[in-house]
């Protein structure tokens, strides 16, 4: 069984981003970039499914600028077999990415697409669900456990009240949540090996996909600063302040 694992290159989760002074966006120049953490969990899950003998071939795909090749190499170092970059300098929004991924799915015919539930840059949480819709496939979002057997994926999903178990008939889309697994670190020998694994580059035009943005960002600003840093000496002072000053308890 073939698995497709879409991965996104994002600003590293440890970086505190700065809004550009002209309000046009967030400063990403000279900032550490990494694979979206949720996608890393998806890569790990795919590799585990191969190690268990459930999956036979793992293909990673990324959409974006040439530098996304680094992200794909990371996926290859963790254990993905080969990679595809859909290369474009255009701004890509989730619907466009879902359309590009659909075109790749049409070519590659995987039984399962597994990807992060959300990218930590735009926080949209859309691509997996959109891809499932465009393909007419079922979706199992926010997965904390995935079992594949008998042509079905049985997935434990994180929902607001706890957990939900769904069974989806393959082919299907699964999006990963935090508790699905703990991604391994790529070892040096595997990083070296990853450099020799195949990485194909295609353009959106060749896939017949119009990636024009539908949303226009008019401005990006810093959120209002919270005035914090107040201290109290002890419990008595805390309770007195909460009652008298803040008036949030009686």
């Amino acid at each position: 069984m073939k698995l497709l694992v879409p991965v996104k290159r994002v600003v590293d989760f440890n970086v505190k981003v700065r809004v550009k002074t002209d309000g046009s966006g967030v400063d990403t120049a000279n900032v550490k970039m990494s694979m979206n953490p949720f996608d890393e969990i998806a890569v790990e899950e795919a590799v585990r499914l191969k190690e268990k003998g459930v999956a036979t071939e793992l293909v990673a795909v990324s959409c974006g600028i040439a530098a996304c090749q680094e992200t794909l190499r990371t996926a290859l170092a963790i254990g993905i077999d080969r990679a595809i970059l859909v290369e474009t300098d255009a701004e890509l929004q989730p619907l466009a990415v879902a359309k590009l991924l659909k075109a790749i799915v049409d070519k590659e015919a995987p039984q399962l697409v597994i990807l992060g539930k959300q990218a930590i840059d735009d926080d949209s949480n859309q691509t997996g669900q959109m891809l499932a819709a465009l393909l007419g496939w079922p979706q199992a979002t926010f997965a904390s456990k995935v079992d594949i057997a008998d042509g079905k994926a049985t997935v434990k999903r994180e929902i607001d009240g706890g957990l939900e178990t769904v069974a989806v008939t393959l082919p299907a889309v699964v999006t990963t949540d935090l508790r699905l697994n703990e991604p391994r670190y790529a070892t040096l020998p595997n990083i070296m090996k990853a450099k020799k694994k195949p990485l194909d580059v295609v353009k959106p035009d060749a896939l017949g996909v119009d990636v024009s943005p539908r949303l226009t960002t008019l401005k990006v600003v810093e959120p209002p600063k919270r005035k914090g840093g107040g201290k109290v000496a002890d419990v008595k002072e805390l309770v007195a302040k909460l009652r008298g000053e803040a008036k949030v308890i009686s």
Binding site: I120, Q126, V166, V168, L215, G228, V235, L238
Partner: protein, 309 residues
């Protein structure tokens, strides 16, 4: 112009998120209709009809809607979408699962997690874990939007909308809900509680959350947690407050043994009053706390509980 709000409910009752989504919808201008898609969900439909500002409730009742799968709900929404300029869902686990499927089937962009309505096509939404606010304009004929519930007040009661039946499409057939394990609690719901007490890695083990429960009992508070505490298995996943967990904005948020990672702050920094209790004076949580108390939580929390007597 009319707006369709897709209600979140458990069939018997409406979830509080729905009334927040109605408030956001009302700001778009136009009649607000609410869709209740479920099985034996008359209770939820009647409750939706009583929300002030709702002009009409559409009630789809079918066995295949019992599990409220994204596949079946999205197909239903797309089937009735024609007259609507906007389709609005709360940015909850439910809304996040369903909305993008609707948007893609309609071939329109989705605007996720809006915190303000500037006009009928322009919205403000947080990006980068709330470290930037983007104002975005949608050029699509229909707008699919999810709403951050803490950014919009709950719509008042007092409506008298009519309830109309709509037919549900046939079952999608390839997605089935097998069961749910819901965390049982007599406490207020995390996202709508007036007071939230959250514990982090500093609690050291799950058992120690009992200490927070005693405090929560005194304050009628909900209990939350940082990702570190959930990952460590101290408490279930639905306790998580943060960028990818629940977003809360209570009157009082008490962070106990939480250092204050960016990802956690993203879920609670709009709280009215923030109290932080942590033994590390350098913990970033103190930078946003109104009242910081440096010290050993294992001494402070019982003392605080006793003080509230």
């Amino acid at each position: 112009m009319s707006i369709l709000v897709v209600a979140e409910h458990d069939h018997a009752a409406l979830k509080s998120a729905t009334a927040h989504a109605v408030t956001a919808a009302a700001k778009l201008g136009g009649d607000v209709h609410v869709l209740v898609a479920g099985h034996n969900a008359r209770g939820a439909a009647d409750a939706a009809a009583k929300i002030a500002g709702v002009a009409k409730v559409l009630h789809a009742d079918a066995a295949q809607l019992a599990g409220q799968t994204a596949e079946n709900v999205a197909a239903l929404v797309v089937g009735i979408a024609a007259p609507y300029s906007h389709i609005v869902l709360p940015a909850t686990g439910y809304g996040k699962n369903v909305a993008p499927r609707v948007a893609a089937l309609l071939d329109v962009a989705q605007v996720s997690d809006i915190i303000a309505v500037e006009s009928s096509d322009t919205f403000v939404r947080p990006i980068y874990a709330g470290n930037a606010f983007a104002t975005v304009q949608s050029k699509d004929a229909k707008k699919v939007i999810t709403v951050r519930t803490t950014a919009f007040d709950s719509a008042a009661a007092g409506g008298q909308a009519s309830v109309e039946s709509v037919a549900a499409p046939a079952d999608f057939g390839r997605a089935q809900v097998l069961g749910q394990e819901l965390t049982k609690s007599d406490r207020p719901e995390l996202t709508s509680a007036r007071i939230v007490i959250s514990g982090g890695r500093g609690l050291q083990k799950g058992e120690n959350f009992k200490m927070l429960e005693a405090l929560a009992d005194k304050l009628n508070a909900a209990i939350g947690a940082s990702r570190a505490a959930v990952d460590a298995g101290f408490v279930p996943n639905d306790y998580q407050v943060g960028q990818t967990g629940k977003i809360v904005a209570p009157d009082l948020y008490i962070a106990i043994g939480i250092s204050g990672a960016i990802q956690h702050l993203a879920g609670m920094k709009d709280s009215k009053v923030i109290v932080a209790i942590n033994k590390d004076p350098e913990a970033p949580i103190f930078q946003i706390a109104d009242y910081g108390l440096i010290g050993d939580l294992f001494e402070i929390v019982p003392a605080l509980t006793a003080e509230l007597g």
